[in-house]
Symmetry: C2
């Protein structure tokens, strides 16, 4: 779900902005405008993967462990939104070998799976071109990111 990615990006920005103050998940949740329960799962993943440090409970709270310029947007995307494992429910035709008289139906699954997989690779590689520092520029100067992409694609 894309929301998980947004939760991660927003949380890391918020921790950076308030560094070195320890931020409780409750405060973070208010900025994200989400229930604290929803974001704890993502915070736990970010903690496990070394993006943030800290603890829950009394006097607890999180701090950013890495510089925004060292956090790749694509890595964060892959971490929070894993690739689709099976495209079966998006694909037409019969399972292999069921109907030898209809090669299209027999082979659609393999061909479309490759198409969708390669398209998704391209999609993800787009995110990998940027760091959170790039995105943060856009937060304060909206339009920066669009310009950056335009320039890169020239």
């Amino acid at each position: 779900m894309k929301l998980d990615f947004s939760v991660a990006v927003h949380s890391l920005f918020y921790l950076e902005e308030n560094n070195p103050r320890k931020i409780a998940s409750r405060e973070l949740a208010a900025s994200l405008d989400l229930n604290a329960v929803v974001i704890r799962n993502i915070l736990s993943v970010l903690h496990k993967k070394g993006y943030i440090e800290g603890s829950v409970g009394k006097n607890g709270g999180y701090q950013l462990k890495r510089a925004l310029a060292d956090i790749n947007v694509g890595e964060l995307y892959d971490l929070t939104i894993p690739p689709t494992i099976s495209y079966a429910r998006f694909i037409t035709g019969k399972s292999e070998g069921v109907n030898q008289a209809d090669p299209i139906s027999d082979n659609m699954s393999e061909t479309l799976t490759d198409l969708f997989t390669l398209a998704d690779d391209q999609y993800r590689s787009f995110y990998h071109r940027f760091t959170l520092a790039d995105l943060k520029q856009d937060l304060y100067h909206h339009g920066y990111f669009k310009q950056l992409v335009k320039k890169n694609d020239k």
Copy 2:
């Protein structure tokens, strides 16, 4: 929904394979392994957009109107899976101006919308690089499409 795209691709392949025989939606549905009701909607769109010709009812059926090499995969993708109009449900933070004390929360929506929109543009441009003739090669020689992408990206 990605399934609509697969329905369109599969239908056009099937009509081409059986040209110039008129194909009823019932026969098409059997190849797609879907209920005929599910595919009629897509067939109607393909008909309206000039990909296929024909009629429903007695002696009815569809024929392909264009060559596979003239049908762009990306056009078909855009036609069957329109771009997301609003990313609001995937985005954290408050609506603009609600909380001037928290610029991150205020600005996340604009920044993430640009990020998601530009990433989706890239995703769709991948599909636009190919025609149905490219995909059909892969149906009969699986692996062709993967090779083609590899070669193009060099």
